[in-house]
Amino acid sequence: MIKGNFIDNLPKVYGIYTGGFLGFIIIMAIGEQMGMTAKTIGICFVAFTVAIYAIIGYLSRTAQADAYYVAGRQVPTVFNGMATAADWMSGASFVAMAGGIYFKGYGYMALLVGWTGGYVLVASLLAPYLRKFGCYTVPDFIGTRYGGNLTRFLAVVVLTVASFTYVTAQINATGTIASVALDIPFQYAVYVGLISILLCSMLGGMRGVTWTQVAQYIVLIIAYLLPVFWISNKIGAGFFPHFMLADEVARIGELEQQFGFVKNAAADLKTVPKGLAGITKAHSAVNATPWGFISLALAMMMGTASLPHVMMRYFTTPSVKAARKSVGWSLFFIFLLYSSAPMLATLSKLSLMDPTLSTGIIGKSITDVQAIDWYQNWNSANLMFISDFNGNGTLELNEFFMGGKAVVLATPEIAGLPYVISGLVAAGGMAAAMSTADGLILAIANAISHDVYYKIIDPKAETAKRLVVARVLLVVIGFAGATIAAMEIQGILGSVIWAFDFAMSGLFFPLVLGVWWKRANREGAIAGMALGLASGMGYLIWVRNGGSGFLGITQLTFGIFGSAVSLVSMVVVSLITSEPSAATQRMVDEVRVPSGRSIIGKQ
């Protein structure tokens, strides 16, 4: 079905798609007026969108290696930007980010700066050069630039450790949303999520993932922005919240003063369900030390530039020039959501805190709040909790607890928006988690099938056989991820941040120096990857087991230590061993020139 002229028709195809989706939202809204239940609306939203992705995945099926691994290298810049944005913004960004800002304020917003600033490094240090290289996967670059199977293999190891940590969190998020929207137990919902994910990627590989990710971006950005604008208008905060919430931010500051941050007794806190938190930090005050903020932002930026599922999106553009521009578009599309998250956090907090608003609950009587419908719903979903610790019959600021996810999932309902919006938000969260999981599973499966199987084990394998191996791996890795996700070992956000630290520990300097330092050689790269990953992981284990850490490096920023070790060992080992061969040096020279044929195509 997808023909050569499909690329020229992209704006039209996705224009019709967007119109169709908006039409679907309107139909659901009419359905709600006519008495459709909340549950039916939720199921319709998730089922309808997932069915569309599955159709796109089926239409993108392919038997060609070029299409399977790099979408035929013909994805236009703007569309690749959208796909990267969906690839990038995970369940954590969509569901948990506004919640993090809501509870932790400034210290948490280091993630906003880190997850956007990293793209400057991607654009200037890496993406155009790796595109010129013409590789299928990130380990493909490492293996060809430094030579030898060991370098290639180590790159696959780092990639797998980082991406697998990340993907369990994403499958966990799809499971959470599927279990709420479809009303099935989490252990089964995880596999429903997984099957939806595989439907997008299995037949079409990178081509299928690209076109479903564009579709998923459209759903997720509508689902995020519509409630933010609607709530802002509804409570009279301003019709364009991003530019008009200064008074609301100041008002929250006043209310914080008025209510005060009372510290709860440990015994009282024990009665609060696990995972819920209260507001304990000022909304817009600077509440972290400069190094605390900067170290987290820096770790996320360097991690961004080392995560293979992002980098491989830029292998799909038609040219080096297009790869550079495409990074700009990616960040633009990410910016649309990230700049809205703090606004959502502000609106959500104000709706709950301000006694002059009809939605405000702080300062009201406990029994009144307990009688509110939405409180009962979210309390039974274990995402909200109140308790009269001081026994005065009134709900105080320190007596209200909420789960991080609830800020995105529950705010529309709290602000009195129709249920259709909550259904839309569920579809958006599902799209965000699915698109990232797809990119990650594909990155791992491609690296193992292309770099380990094809390049190391059986270099003579035919395309058909290679693609069968790639697809089998896709399913195996997906199921492994889902099984671990079903065990619910750690929270969504913690494991996402670890993935960045793992990636930067092992890959940042081997990638960057591969382009920017001609003297970097095989031995150096091996040392950089192995020691970087090992020391980063060692530091994490040490701190997790009660180690005190040093230089203020925590379990969230251990990549700073890992990458420092990686840099030093790579430079030292490179310098004490012989310089790379003349052929390798010529190859680096060629990578630096944007025009001409790709490096790998020549060999």
């Binding site: 236009p76 810049t77 400034y106 917003m109 280091a110 906003l112 700066v113 880190g114 956007t116 600033g117 793209y119 400057v120 490094l121 654009a123 200037s124 240090l125 155009p128 991003h242 530019f243 008009m244 919430l245 200064a246 008074d247 931010v249 100041a250 817009s284 005050a285 600077v286 972290a288 400069p290 903020f293 900067i294 932002a297 820096l298 930026m301 553009t317 038609p318 040219s319 080096v320 020039k321 297009a322 550079r324 521009k325 495409s326 990074v327 700009g328 960040l331 633009f332 910016f335 990230y338 700049s339 998250a341 703090p342 606004m343 020279d589 630096r592 020139v593 944007p594 025009s595």
Partner: protein
Amino acid sequence: MSKQAQHWEKTRGLLMMTLAIWFVFSIGIFLFGAEMNEVTGPFGYPLTYWFTCQGSLGIFVILIFWFANRQEKIDEEFGFSERGDD
């Protein structure tokens, strides 16, 4: 100096400039987060707060497009530009 070496020197210059701007808005200003937050920033938000939710993020977007255009000019100057458009 060969054409290629000159091209690389200019490319490296652009990289340094890009990274310097990046450094200021991702790291530099946050050294003074507490002091800066006393100042009222654009649209009336506290300044540091504004940078974390919009300012730095928006500057990064503009910076990447600016970088891409400058790099294209350098490539054209040395005849290394690719045919065809995005």
